[in-house]
């Protein structure tokens, strides 16, 4: 366990340069590129120079760029991401308040992708080169080629507008929004804690389409990896031995092959998380989901530089942590891996 702990710490330290590099790239692009953040923020209206200057001092952009950089980096390492130029609320507070919405969406999206990708991958592998295998592989490739925002809109057209089964967008319906009291910000969890059945139904209904959109778009990679990994395991000697013993195919696949096929798939989950966060930007935009990705989009549209930087750093840190967890999980699933 101490080896594992040391490895975890090492990895955590290694994320520092990664975040620093991303931060620097974003900082340079935001500040060095032509365009004045202050006049951009004021909407390009003609403003007296002394007012402009006072804003500059207030926002700290009157100093030379290297000084701004040092101040900003220092702030980030102390956990101070600065205040939003638009609303002047601390960026970090805003991000934390929106974080549960994104996580909730991500978890359910992954759940959809996991169920769909894993099951189709296994089915395709156990029936390799038969029609069903070809069908599933086409589905996987199509899932790669699907623009996520379009898929979301099509779901809206079909399930919300045409059939009227599900709500079009947002996290809560108007009738529940007034009575529902969040605790943790994870609404599904909150509704269960509050023992509020009516809200729970409403929340889950709102969650279905965004989660499905995010999930289906990620099914391709997961499904292909599952298929490949399962095929490889099924070709190994111990599987042949199991079959030779006269075990039923179901037992061979489920008991013997499945566990080993799982191992490489876990790494894909780590990779998918980056894709997932990218997908979250579009999903949150399409479904008016109040998460960190939609906060980033809103900040971009308002040219709110501190908020953009803050969101980027936040997302980078979050992905580093996820990758670390996936790595550690690896050693749990595969006992051969030792740190």
């Amino acid at each position: 366990m101490s080896g594992l702990l040391r490895y975890a710490l090492q990895r955590l330290v290694l994320t520092v340069p990664m975040v620093l590099i991303l931060l620097t790239v974003i900082f340079l692009i935001l500040r060095v590129l032509p365009g004045d953040p202050v006049s951009a923020m004021l909407g390009g209206r003609p403003v007296p120079p002394e007012v402009l200057q006072s804003y500059r001092v207030k926002m700290g952009v009157d100093k030379p760029i290297p000084a701004q950089y040092v101040t900003y980096i220092g702030g980030v390492f102390r956990g101070d991401f600065g205040s939003s130029m638009r609303t002047s609320t601390p960026v970090l507070r805003e991000l934390f308040s929106r974080f549960p919405a994104t996580i909730e969406l991500a978890i359910f999206g992954l759940l959809v992708a996991g169920i769909l990708g894993f099951s189709t991958g296994i089915i395709a592998a156990t029936r390799a080169d038969r029609p069903i295998d070809h069908g599933i592989r086409i589905f996987h490739i199509a899932s790669f080629a699907m623009p996520l925002f379009w898929l979301g809109l099509m779901f809206q057209v079909f399930f919300a507008v045409k059939l009227g089964w599900l709500p079009v967008a947002s996290r809560l319906g108007g009738n529940v929004a007034f009575t529902f009291q969040p605790v943790t910000g994870f609404y599904v969890l909150d509704a269960i804690i509050r023992w509020d059945g009516k809200s729970l139904v409403d929340i889950v209904l709102h969650l279905i389409l965004p989660a499905l959109t995010l999930g289906v778009a990620m099914t391709g990679l997961l499904g292909r990896m599952s298929r490949a990994s399962m095929l490889e395991v099924l070709g190994q000697d111990y599987v042949t031995t199991a079959r030779a013993k006269g075990l039923r195919e179901r037992i061979v696949v489920m008991r013997h092959a499945l566990r080993n096929a799982l191992i490489p798939i876990i790494t894909v989950f780590g990779l998918e998380f980056a894709v997932l966060m990218g997908g979250a930007v579009l999903t949150e935009t399409v479904f008016s989901w109040p998460g960190i990705a939609s906060y980033l989009m809103r900040s971009i549209n308002a040219r709110d530089y501190t908020a953009i930087q803050g969101s980027v750093v936040f997302i980078a840190l979050f992905i580093s942590v996820i990758n670390l967890i996936v790595d550690l999980l690896y050693s749990v699933v595969d006992p051969r891996v030792r740190y």
Binding site: M18, A145, F149, S320
Partner: protein, 301 residues
Amino acid sequence: MTETRETMPVRRSLLARAAGGVTSGLRGQTVLKVGLVIVIAFIAMTVVAQIWPSMNGFDPTKYRNAPRLEGPSITHWMGTDQLQRDVFTRVIAGGFASLVVAFSAVALSMMAGSVIGWISGYAGGWLDRCLSLFMDAIYSFPSMILAIVLVAMFGSGLSPMIWAVGFVYIPTYFRVTRAESLQVRETTYIEAVKAIGASRTRIVLRHVAPNTVNAIMAVSSFNLADAILTVAALSFLGFGLPPPAPDWGFDIQNGQKYLQSGSWWLITFPGLMIIALSLGFGLIGEGISDLVNPKRRRKLG
């Protein structure tokens, strides 16, 4: 000449199969062929779209040319939009930005990423470590978000999109070429070339680089498929071509407003176009991967 012999098979497999291999190399390569047909059809369609208005009188950018928000009919195959334009005319012309940005961006990142990858992999040492750290940092970050942030800062339009999308994909090529050059560096023939006294530049350009071409080719096709989706997403978010120009992503964003009233044709057709084009590039990638690595066919499928 002895030194080039060892790189020959690699080069031959690529050139012979890609250029002269229509008869022999492509035999049985249904996936690759389908992909090529799709992509060529899209390029042809975009070209035809430029002269289409003079052929039937519909113009993708001219307003009040047709009825308002009408579903597909015989005169308007894909319906009309809120500004009374023919959707079909806009859809066939709408791939222009996607194709231009995808090809340019992938070319840009391919060149930059490969060169840095060759150098990094071959040189090794602290340079390699620094470059790898930098590239890994960018690689691990969601490419879609990075592209959005970059394009938002660069401004909207064709060239900002090219730069943003191109930058985002550099690490992909870096990783592929670096890994390959690391392998090539250890081979005996590189040792032999060194013994002859070839310069570093010569070794990298004549011996390391050609061995990475196969991998680059396969990666770039998948990359194009991804770029099409990224460009579509960028224009959907409003960072693409300015309004009257036909563009799939933007047209979908526009159609979103009329979704509640049931005007499904506004978003359905541009979306299907994006899927088809992205699928075309994806199939080419599959085909090339099978071609350069026949073993993969059985393993990955």
